[in-house]
Symmetry: C2
Subunit: 275 residues, 2 copies
C-alpha cells in the first residue's frame, strides 16, 4: 500500500519510521517545514517528499497534526482524499470524529478515528522513534467506516508494532483519556508549580521523577486537548480534588484509621490490576 503521513512530528515521524521498519508499504511524507522532510527522507523514514497532489496516489492517509489542524486540512483538501481510508491521531474524539464523518461523506472517503497511546515528554520529528508504539495500545474509533476500512487500520497498527487494539466510541474514549492521560498532565503541572520544586535536588528520588515527568509539557497542544475535552476532564479533576481532600482531612484530623483505610483502598486497586 501507499501511505501518506501528514505532519512529521513525534507521532507522524514515528508512524513513518515504524511503517518502514516493519512493513514493505511505501511512505509519502507531507509537512509544513520542508527541512524536516529532507531529514526524514535521508533517514529512510519516508520514500518520498510529498505535496497535496501526492495524496491522490495514497491508499491510506494518516493525519498526525494537532487535532483542529487535522480537520482544517481535510476541509481544505478533501477533494484529494476521495476513495481513500483516512485516519487521525488526535487525543480527543467527540470534537473531531463527527466533523470528520461529515467531511468523509462530503468528499467520499472513509474515516477511521485512531489514537496511538504513546508519546514522550519531548516533541518534534527529532523525538520520533520506530519503536515508539511497540507494545502500546492503539485506540480505534470506527465511527461510520466500513468493517473493511476499520480492519485495514487495525491490521496496520498491529503490523507496525502496537501491542493491542482497543475499539471504542468517541464518548468512552474521551472519558477514559481524561483520566489516563489528561489528568496526569494536569497533576504534573500543578505539582511542579510548588515553590519547593526548584530546590528539589538532593531531596528527591523516583516518586518526584515519575509524577513530574510530563510537566515538561507542550503547552499549546495540551491546552487545545484540555479545552476540547472540557467536561470529562473537569469531572475527573473534581473527583481528584475530592480524593485529595479526603486524604488531607484524615491527615489534618490525625485520623490514622481513616488514613490507612484510604491508602489501603489505593493499594488494593493497584494490586487488583496486577500493577
Amino acid at each position: 500500500m501507499k501511505i501518506a503521513v501528514v505532519g512529521i512530528g513525534i507521532i507522524g515521524g514515528s508512524f513513518c519510521k515504524a511503517i518502514k521498519k516493519n512493513t514493505s508499504h511505501y511512505v509519502i511524507g507531507l509537512n509544513r517545514t520542508k527541512e524536516t522532510l529532507a531529514q526524514a527522507l535521508s533517514d529512510g523514514a519516508i520514500d518520498e517528499i510529498g505535496d497535496i497532489d501526492s495524496l491522490k496516489k495514497a491508499d491510506i492517509v494518516i493525519l498526525a497534526t494537532y487535532p483542529k489542524a487535522s480537520v482544517e486540512f481535510v476541509e481544505k483538501y478533501g477533494e484529494y482524499l476521495k476513495g481513500k481510508i483516512v485516519t487521525d491521531s488526535a487525543g480527543i474524539k467527540r470534537e473531531i470524529c463527527p466533523q470528520m464523518v461529515e467531511l468523509s461523506k462530503k468528499f467520499g472517503f472513509e474515516f477511521v478515528g485512531a489514537h496511538p497511546m504513546a508519546g514522550k515528554e519531548t516533541n518534534g520529528y527529532k523525538s520520533s522513534d520506530a519503536d515508539l508504539f511497540k507494545g502500546a495500545s492503539y485506540i480505534v474509533v470506527p465511527c461510520e467506516a466500513s468493517d473493511e476500512a476499520v480492519n485495514t487500520i487495525c491490521s496496520l497498527g498491529l503490523e507496525i508494532g502496537f501491542g493491542s487494539v482497543k475499539k471504542t466510541d468517541p464518548e468512552e474514549h474521551d472519558r477514559m483519556i481524561a483520566f489516563t492521560s489528561q489528568l496526569p498532565h494536569v497533576l504534573a503541572c500543578a505539582y511542579v508549580l510548588s515553590p519547593c520544586c526548584p530546590n528539589h535536588k538532593g531531596f528527591s528520588a523516583g516518586s518526584y521523577k515519575d509524577v513530574s515527568r510530563v510537566a515538561n509539557i507542550n503547552a499549546k497542544l495540551w491546552s487545545e486537548l484540555f479545552l476540547e475535552n472540557r467536561e470529562p476532564l473537569i469531572e475527573e479533576l473534581i473527583t481528584l480534588r475530592e480524593n485529595v481532600t479526603m486524604i488531607t482531612d484524615a491527615v489534618q484530623q490525625g485520623n490514622k484509621e481513616r488514613l490507612e483505610q484510604l491508602l489501603e483502598q489505593a493499594h488494593q486497586t493497584k494490586e487488583m490490576l496486577g500493577e
Copy 2:
C-alpha cells in the same frame, strides 16, 4: 568496621547487600522474623545473625525499622549502644531527631540522622537490592554528632553506592520531603481512587503508569510518615490544590491564554532544572 543493621526489610536488606558488595566491612543482621535472617545469611547479605548482645561488638548501628519503632528500639536497648555511631533511615526527622539526640546523651552514643532517597513500590527483604542506592541521594542530618561521626556516615554512604550526600537539618528535610516524596504518594493514591481506574487498560500509557506507580503503597508505613509530618505535608497539599484549581478554572472558563500560561510555567520549571 563491624556494622549492625536492625530491621532487614527493603531498606535494611539493601544496606546489608550494598555493604557486602562494595566494602569489606563485617555485617551483623538483626530482625524480628528469624527466617529473613537465615535467608540473608544464605544470600551473603550478612556475615552473622545477630541478637541484642551482638550490638556490643558493632562500630556502627544502622536502624532500618519504621520511624517510631527505631526510637522504641533505642529506648529499650540504649545501654548496648554506648560509644557507637547510630544512624537511622526514617523518612521524617523533626519527630525523630530530637528524641534520638536526647537518647544519645543518656546512653553515650553518637546519633547521625540519615534518609536514603531510594525505594520501590514493593517492600520487605525480598525487594532489597545491592544497587538500590546506586546514584541516589543520601540525606544526612548531623544533629549534634561530632564531625568525625558525621564524616564516617557520609563516607560509608558514598562507599556503598550513593551518588551524593546532602547535609541538612530536620526542618528543611521534612519540608522538602513533604514535596518530593509524600505529596507524590498522596497524589498517586488520590488518582487511582477514580472510578475510571479499574477500566484503564487499553486506554493508558506512560503518564498513567508513572503517576499511579507508588499507589501500590504500604498503607501502615506511609500513614505513620504522613501523620508525623503533618504541617509541611498539609502545606504542600494546600499549594497543590490551589494549583490544580487554577488550571481547572482556566479549563472551565475556556481561557486558553491563561491555561497556556500556566502549562508553560510548568514547562519552564522543568526546563530550568534540565529535566
